[in-house]
Amino acid sequence: MEKIDRLGWAAGLAVVSYGVSIGLRTDEPEALDGLVRLLPSGWRPATSPQVERLYSFRVGDGPGQGIRRFSMLYRDETRIARSLEQTAVLNALESELQLYLAERARGRIFVHAGVVGWRGRAVVIPGRSMSGKSTLVAALVRAGATYYSDEYAVLDARGRVHAYPTPLSLRDGSAAAPNEPPLATPNHDLDPLPVGLVVITRYRAGARWRPRRLSPGRAGIELLAHTVAARRRPARALSTLARTLSGTLVLKGVRGEASGLVATVAEPAEGPGTRIAD
């Protein structure tokens, strides 16, 4: 760590987010604002300079400036990203911050999922990257649902879902232009919601949505597979999932186009053309 400390850091900040203390520092004071913008909203300055994890960002040179200097990112003493493109390293920091906080958050369990609010209840769509959950979340938002998250379902001890504030954007390669405005930006003041429906699905071209209902236990193990702190805090994860799934309808199946599923999600028991198998 001393070796990295000697690199010369010009600006830094200690913050607390989701109960976790994090330090950010950089060799260019102007870059600090950009680092802070990568934090999930709701952070506050830490009262102590002692942090659980320190990220150090060294600003590289832009193209066409003679000698090339890489932008670098360190997690404590370990280098975790290096690129001539500063944006690439900042993206890495954003992704790293999200994952670290998701794993360590105090009093919250993060499940990798998209979330929308619908008539006072949350619809949770767990899934890995590229499983098509963002497309589904976007379709539900267009149909009038309230956007809560495109990244994580943040569950509290009572099993309610809190909003996770990241802008909703699609990365399907065709629809998302780099500077295109996000489809939805979350309202940070949204109330936490009890979960009304969990949809476990993946996209397959031409497939018809014919879900089957999962029992609470089956649903629990499906959600655990997407729970960030499953290894670090399994007892907390299991008890939170049990509360979340108590009395919750959980549907699983392959889907085709998102529009075909929206009606079912909105009215799971009576959506047109949907048969739910037990």
Partner: protein
């Protein structure tokens, strides 16, 4: 010893986190970082292992609670599944080769109808995800800062075809 009077193996209790979900049970193995799903039948048999009931007593319980015919075979099937998931402390003394407790064999031997097959014991297991597996994609810069075996095909953000895979002793963003 006649198997009717045979005692059940002891259920494992150490290094486990257990969460009951209505009739089913989720078990997290802290030693192996595996999570197990036990359906109602498997959960009942596992509970009987905790209570040190005999195979005959457990079979009687299944017959009463689940209306399960030929329940003793089903008890042995459940013990087979629980033992494979390492949820028992000792190996059950099976009254014959374990192959006979394959699902298809049991259905044939017991003559179960379609509805009753749903009551057969199920123990499904997953390896618990590390944080990065449960999380989102990696950026190219993150991927290329890793070294194998940390890259195991994680998706690359913004590239539907990109995966972070080992190449020449380093991790690289390549087509999946």
């Amino acid at each position: 010893m006649d198997c009717q009077a045979r005692g059940m193996p002891q259920a494992r209790t150490d290094q486990l986190v257990v969460e009951a979900m209505v009739d089913e049970t989720l078990v997290y193995d802290l030693r192996r970082h595996k999570a197990h799903y036990l359906n109602r039948t498997a959960a009942l048999v596992w509970r009987c292992c905790h209570e040190r009931k005999s195979v005959a007593e457990t079979a009687a319980l299944l017959e009463t609670e689940l209306r399960m015919p030929e329940a003793e075979t089903v008890v042995w099937m459940a013990l087979d599944r629980l033992e494979r998931a390492r949820l028992l402390t000792d190996l059950p003394s099976f009254p014959g080769p374990r192959l006979q407790y394959a699902r298809r064999q049991v259905i044939r031997a017991v003559g179960l109808g379609a509805a009753a097959t749903l009551l057969l014991p199920i123990v499904d297991s997953i390896v618990s995800p590390v944080a990065a597996q449960a999380g989102s994609c990696l950026t190219t810069a993150q991927c290329e800062a890793l070294t194998p075996p940390a890259c195991s095909g994680q998706p690359i953000c913004g590239d539907p075809k990109g995966c972070c895979v080992p190449r020449g002793g380093r991790c690289r963003d390549r087509n999946c």
